[in-house]
């Protein structure tokens, strides 16, 4: 268990589909040493959260001494797990960074199919957010930028793309909050 005066740490990041199956997962702690322990954790996270509506705002649940923040879009479920003495808002920031970066990388076509078609981008994205449990970056545009400078379409157009995309997302967010 992390001491309260230690560095914020992330225990895992999960991207599951609407049936709770893995799209991409990454574990950073030894809390779940075996594959079956990992799958059991994913199953209980999924069942505990599937009935909730985490589509507009990130939601949060605490169980078994872990805090899980999560957000859903289409048929994809995003989860970030931390220890139970972690600052919830830090976890939420990581989740938001991951969520938005994936949105940018998949150009707002965020669903399971597109995610699997671009699995390399998703995996690189995870790699740029957390390194061994330590937060590397939380700003979605920077994360996406780091992943996409190596994208298939060449660097120049993409960095522009990122900005337009970012604006689009921002607009969408605004519209959503107005509608609510």
């Amino acid at each position: 268990m992390a001491a309260p005066d230690s560095c914020p740490s992330i225990k895992n990041i999960l991207l599951l589909d609407s049936e709770g199956k893995r799209v991409a997962v990454k574990y950073y702690s030894d809390d779940w040493p075996t594959l079956s322990a990992k799958l059991a954790f994913e199953k209980s996270v999924f069942t505990k959260t599937q009935k909730t509506n985490a589509r507009t705002e990130a939601e949060i649940v605490m169980f078994d001494g872990y805090i899980v923040v999560y957000k859903f879009i289409q048929d994809l479920h995003f989860f970030v797990t931390g220890g139970d003495d972690e600052n919830e808002l830090i976890l939420a920031t990581v989740l938001q960074g991951f969520f938005d970066a994936v949105g940018l990388l998949l150009r707002n076509n965020v669903d399971k199919r597109t995610a699997l078609e671009n699995l390399d981008l998703i995996l690189l994205c995870l790699d740029e957010i957390i390194d061994g449990g330590i937060i590397l970056e939380t700003e979605a545009s920077i994360i996406a930028g780091k992943v996409a400078t190596h994208g298939l379409d060449g660097a120049a157009s993409l960095s522009e793309q990122t900005i337009t995309q970012a604006l689009a997302t921002a607009r969408e967010h605004l519209a959503r909050s107005l509608l609510k």
Binding site: A58, V61, Q74, D120, L123, I134, E137
Partner: protein, 887 residues
Amino acid sequence: MAQPFVKKDDDLDEEEEYSPFYGIEKGAVLQEARVFHDPQLDARRCSQVITKLLYLLNQGETFTKVEATEVFFAVTKLFQSKDTVLRRMVYLMIKELSPSADEVIIVTSSLMKDMNSKTDMYRANAIRVLCRITDSTLLTQIERYLKQAIVDKNPVVASAALVSGVHLLQTNSEIVKRWSNEVQEAVQSRAALVQFHALALLHQIRQNDRLAVSKLVTSLTKGSVRSPLAQCLLIRYTSQVIRESSMNTQAGERPFFDYLESCLRHKSEMVVFEAARAITELSGVTSRELTPAITVLQLFLSSSKPVLRFAAIRTLNKVASTHPLAVTNCNIDMESLISDQNRSIATLAITTLLKTGNESSVDRLMKQITNFMSDIADEFKIVVVEAIRSLCLKFPLKYRSMMNFLSNILREEGGFDYKKAIVDSIVILIRDIPDAKEIGLFHLCEFIEDCEFTYLSTQILHFLGNEGPKTSDPSKYIRYIYNRVILENATVRASAVSTLAKFGAMVDSLKPRIFVLLRRCLFDSDDEVRDRATLYLNTLVSDASVGGTDEDVKDFLFGPLDVPLVNLETSLRNYEASDIPFDITSVPKEVKSQPLAEKKAPGKKAIGLGAPPSGPTSVVDAYEKLLSSIPEFSSFGKLFKSCSPMELTEPETEYAVNVVKHIFDGHVVFQYNCTNTIPEQLLEKVTVFVDASEAEEFSEVLTKPLQSLPYDSPGQTFVAFEKPEGVPAIGKFSNLLKFVVKEVDPATGEADEEGVEDEYQLEDLEIVAADYMLKVGVSNFKNAWENLDPDNERIDEYGLGVKESLAETVSAVIDILGMQPCEGTEVVPNNSRSHTCLLSGIFIGNVKVLVRVSFGIDGSKQVAMKLAVRSEDPDISEKIHEIVAEG
């Protein structure tokens, strides 16, 4: 709003066949990986294959050692390609494969080249990969580059090096510690994340140096930290410094509090929350310090973001346990959270309200909770039930509405743990609130009419048997109990029979009717039920005819089994069927803490331990057997107590000796367990010369020497003392080990003929008052306490002076008295300012003693203690006070 999503999902289900990885197979992908060896690399194709491999690993597929090595070598070929995407995938793949040391060498040069490349993205990633797979020899080679990278102007490169430093510190701390100058420079970086990573690393490098951490905090809190994450770190380090410094300074302004308070006005919510949480967790936080933190948390409660609401309510919930008044301001906000979509938040809100609520709001609160209970999971319900129980104990006058609530939820669906929590709560309320008894028992009766859990039914029946007969109209319970005999399984039937018998014994008017019911049970299909019915019928009927044994019967039915069950079990196992009936008084009463102590020191092999390590569960039995086998001691009577072994020598000395004190009514026997740890020596005629000049009431009666003590095979010598009968005499004894030492030839193992007399000074030992006290627990302290004559109660107050903590004081007092803590009261909750501890024991002469001791600690750590003693003998009560006064 939700409609289009659902539709989309349906569409997807229909075309689910489509997935880029549909039908993927490990063998086939490994075959495909051959393209890595192509002389003309197709970068795009290679990335796809790596993605597939990563997909397999991500799905939980594993590669065999051979497969992993093969893939690894193939992947290293890909460094030839200049394709950037491919290179990133190669990095990922290498990290996933976590190659062995000899494989690492293959990629080291390629990675080092990337580390010094012109592309920043290559450099950052190559650093992370290399540091992940490196070992200390390789690390010294690349150390120079890493130091440069830490202060690199590109933030991504600097962060990569710093984060790698944090990881490497675990394994190669010496090397990383040499980087602290560079890291310190990086703390001043303008890039937010670099600052965060540098601060984390710098703190970890210096974490064992309090002064350095304090300096770091002092300089940074003046305001050069920009990144919210780094700010959060700084708050954590600051509270660490506050925690450590508060131990030295007594009163006055808390250092750095201003900084924490200023963070409450930070623009990032993350920082605000971190600071608020840090303030609430300060040890001994005052309500004035709490107020600003509570105010920001209160604002968070009405946020639109669930995460923020959750974080705030969770923190308030913790505060409410220690400072309920500070949280009452938020009550209105929390009440609106009861209907929160997020059930975790709602549950936390309710339990917090239950902690802060006042008497007048209870009814309203209960109404709100009732609606809420139906749609939350069992685990939340249990939390709520426990909170309600403590609330009810706080406001006993409100028992009616809470009892009703508990009975309502008891009738609803729920799992075992949930139902058990409810039943436990009702039982506790019945015990503590006399007015609630009848209504509570009635609810329990209703519940067992339709209870699917055997365990709960038997618990309730047992409880009913003890409490039911004492109510105004016991007869109304009989129907419920007898229904169990008709309807339930054998286990429940058996306990129902016992319960009936208890009613029969206590309520004379019911006796004839109970007999009729018990006789019917004689024809039960189950042995146990029939046996119980026969037993009870006989005891109850004979009592009616002979008379005068009424007390015995009640004692038999209600009296606590005053021996620990484990001891009874071992005694029964050892009992061999013969003409002599089993005697329950022969079961030792000492509660065994031995197994626990054994567990604590598993690695400590019996080098210096003379005590035979065999069978820790029956140490007392073993002692008793040992002593009774020595004819000289047989006249001493029954062994009252054997203390746990006490070392008389330093560990790893030539001779290891420990002593076990055996207390009899008029005698004390010291059993010295000796071990000879010198292979070249044989000891003979080993005795302990005891000087009892500081123990006036004791006089030595006999010594039993140990004839021979060869190397590494423990033996015992005994010294017996006489003392006044039944008196808890105390004294100090000094010990001198005397023996004849003979040289042994290690080759042949033969000892010399001639020996030399020698002696060896041992440490002193003491007989203290606690040695005359047996640790014997009671199952229900309150009942036991009330059953003892209040006239024998002696109360006094003591000032104990300044103590480190309450917990420490409590355990010290328990040790002095040598009594058994009851109902878990030996545990002192953190930060509590007062505590009551319940102790029970049997004093020499078989006098039952109960102690209720309350402690209080004030701001300057002055501890006061109020000690109330009840026992069967007023003199003993006095005696206990003397013990404490002397201790």
